[in-house]
């Protein structure tokens, strides 16, 4: 059996317990909590975990979620191969009128 853990950030394996301990240590805003625990810094870049982390933070601080802000979502929003970024720019033809 797996050790019972409640995972908040599946990418970086950050559990609810770890988040709570970090908040108790004073990392009580989303951005510093992210930097300390690493949540939202994995392959999904926060797509799955920020909403959950914010709700937990609001509950633990007794603050409204709306006051807690967000993290900064940086490009790219999906993994992009380096080769796709290294190509030359080419103008594409405007799309034709008839459906494919």
């Amino acid at each position: 059996m797996t050790t019972p853990r409640c995972i908040v950030c599946t990418c970086e394996d950050v559990t609810e317990t770890e988040l709570h301990e970090a908040v108790e240590e004073g990392y009580d805003d989303l951005e510093t909590l992210k930097r300390y625990t690493g949540f939202a810094t994995g392959p999904c870049q926060g797509k799955a975990c920020v909403v959950v982390a914010r709700r937990l933070l609001a509950r633990w601080k007794g603050a409204p979620e709306g006051d807690l802000g967000a993290i900064t979502y940086r490009p790219p929003l999906v993994p992009v191969p380096l080769g796709a970024l290294a190509g030359d720019e080419v103008e594409e033809e405007p799309p034709r009128e008839e459906p494919k």
Binding site: G42, V51, V52, G66, Y73, V80, A84
Partner: protein, 437 residues
């Protein structure tokens, strides 16, 4: 344990192909994703997690959560839920030895029962620190360098439509159809393999329309194309830059879009559930289960527990049952999922245990915040949705000139609202989109 029971017979999945998982052959079909093929064959553990080496598998089934990363034909970190099976494809486990199923380093999860806080570990004795680093560096990271690391450059295609729509769900298609009918050159970018978004999961006649979701999606997509709109599938947005440029990743390479009008209609995604062992293979989000059923034609399991309440939970239960999955119970919450390499049961707060092999979490949706934030839109807190949404006027205009938002990404509460908002935004963007040139 191969089992064809999981595949829904009537589903159009193309010709059979054979792929190899860690060297062992596995039956698949050409229109199945690798994740679906493996799931149908009883392989649910696709990878191990980075720190605790916990078993992981499909969760969102739409390329967003990164729980299904595998190595495909020598390329690391491929989302098994998004790549189609091909004849002879070599799929390998990542972050596990010898395989994701039986990973020796799984002991980490067993040993560090109280958690592993990296901040105060592996610092003493100082003499051992280089040895610690030697081991940790080899265990860290996601995947290994590709077998053939030489990058193949692909041209970046510049497009200059009048209106670009991000998302081909109900709102996006409605917006695109309006703008295209108004004579504008419209480009629609959709991350999925088919247009429709959540419409694809609404298999009964949808309220106010005479057709089911997939039919409505087809009609809307047709009307976009008939009006000359350019609908690009499997093309997720990559970024929206401060100068207004939007980039997206098409199968053939990067698109760089310069358009005076941007309509954000990229919808919402499921909120992950919170309970012990919420990361076990076999725990799927509501959309994940629906995608596995409808897009891939694979039953998530034999016996399901649905965690959640309200219309989403009802929808999921209905679709599961229609596909032959026994829904043991629909409960508002659970204390824990239990299992070794996959879900075997759930434990309720009362202590009662219910056996199952799949848990579907219908914990609500949240609008996707990334593009809205990158576009610089002013936000407001939407209490009903439980998330920030862009401030929009009656025409769907955000606080940023040239940027509209409609549908679930803007907090739309139902399909009717999404379609109406989409039409208004499309009309408004069409008026502005031409003038700005």
């Amino acid at each position: 344990m191969a089992s064809d029971d999981a595949r829904i017979p009537e589903h159009d999945r193309g010709r059979p192909v054979t792929l190899f998982l860690d060297g062992r052959p596995c039956r698949a079909f050409e229109r199945e994703t690798v994740g679906a093929a493996l799931h149908a064959s009883g392989v649910r553990v696709l990878m191990r997690s980075i720190k605790y080496h916990r078993p992981r598998g499909l969760f969102c089934v739409q390329g967003e959560c990164a729980s299904c990363l595998v190595r495909v034909d020598g390329k690391p970190n491929v989302r098994a839920c998004m790549v189609r099976a091909e004849e002879g494809m070599r799929v390998e486990s990542q972050n596990a030895f010898p395989s994701a199923r039986r990973d020796l380093l799984g002991v980490v999860d067993k040993v560090y029962r109280k958690g592993l806080d990296v901040h105060d570990r592996f610092l003493r004795p100082r003499l051992l620190v280089p040895a610690y680093h030697f081991v940790i560096r080899r265990m860290a990271g996601f995947g290994r360098i590709p077998d053939s690391p030489r990058a193949r450059t692909r041209p970046i295609r510049l497009l200059r439509p009048d209106v670009v729509v991000a998302g081909a769900g109900a709102a996006g298609l409605a917006a695109a159809a309006e703008a295209a009918s108004a004579g504008r050159r419209v480009l629609v970018l959709e991350a999925g393999a088919e247009p429709g978004g959540f419409l694809l999961h609404l298999r009964r006649p949808v309220a106010g329309e005479d057709a089911d979701g997939p039919t409505l999606a087809r009609r809307l997509a047709e009307s976009v194309r008939k009006a000359g709109g350019d609908l690009r599938l499997a093309t997720p947005a990559v970024a929206r830059y401060p100068d207004g440029v939007l980039t997206a990743l098409a199968p053939q390479g990067l698109l760089e879009v310069h358009a005076p009008a941007l309509v954000l209609a990229n919808g919402s995604q499921d909120v992950p559930p919170l309970f012990l062992n919420n990361d076990l293979p076999g725990v799927l989000s509501a959309r994940g289960a629906l995608t596995l059923l409808h897009r891939d034609g694979v039953r998530p399991g034999r016996v399901a527990i649905v965690v959640g309440a309200g219309p989403d939970a009802d929808l999921v239960r209905g679709e599961l049952e229609a596909a032959g999955v026994r829904v043991e119970a629909v409960v508002p919450e659970i204390a824990a999922a239990e299992g070794g390499s996959g879900v075997e049961a759930v434990r309720l707060a009362s202590g009662a245990r219910l056996a199952c092999d799949v848990v579907v979490a219908a914990a609500g949706q949240s609008p996707r915040p990334e593009l809205v934030q990158q576009a610089g839109c002013a936000l407001r807190w939407d209490e009903a949705v439980g998330a920030p949404v862009p401030v929009v006027d009656a025409e769907g205009r955000t606080s940023v000139p040239g940027v509209w938002a409609c549908g679930e990404v803007a907090g739309a509460k139902d399909l009717r609202a999404a379609l109406e908002e989409g039409r208004r935004a499309g009309r408004s963007a069409a008026e502005a989109g031409g003038a700005a040139r």
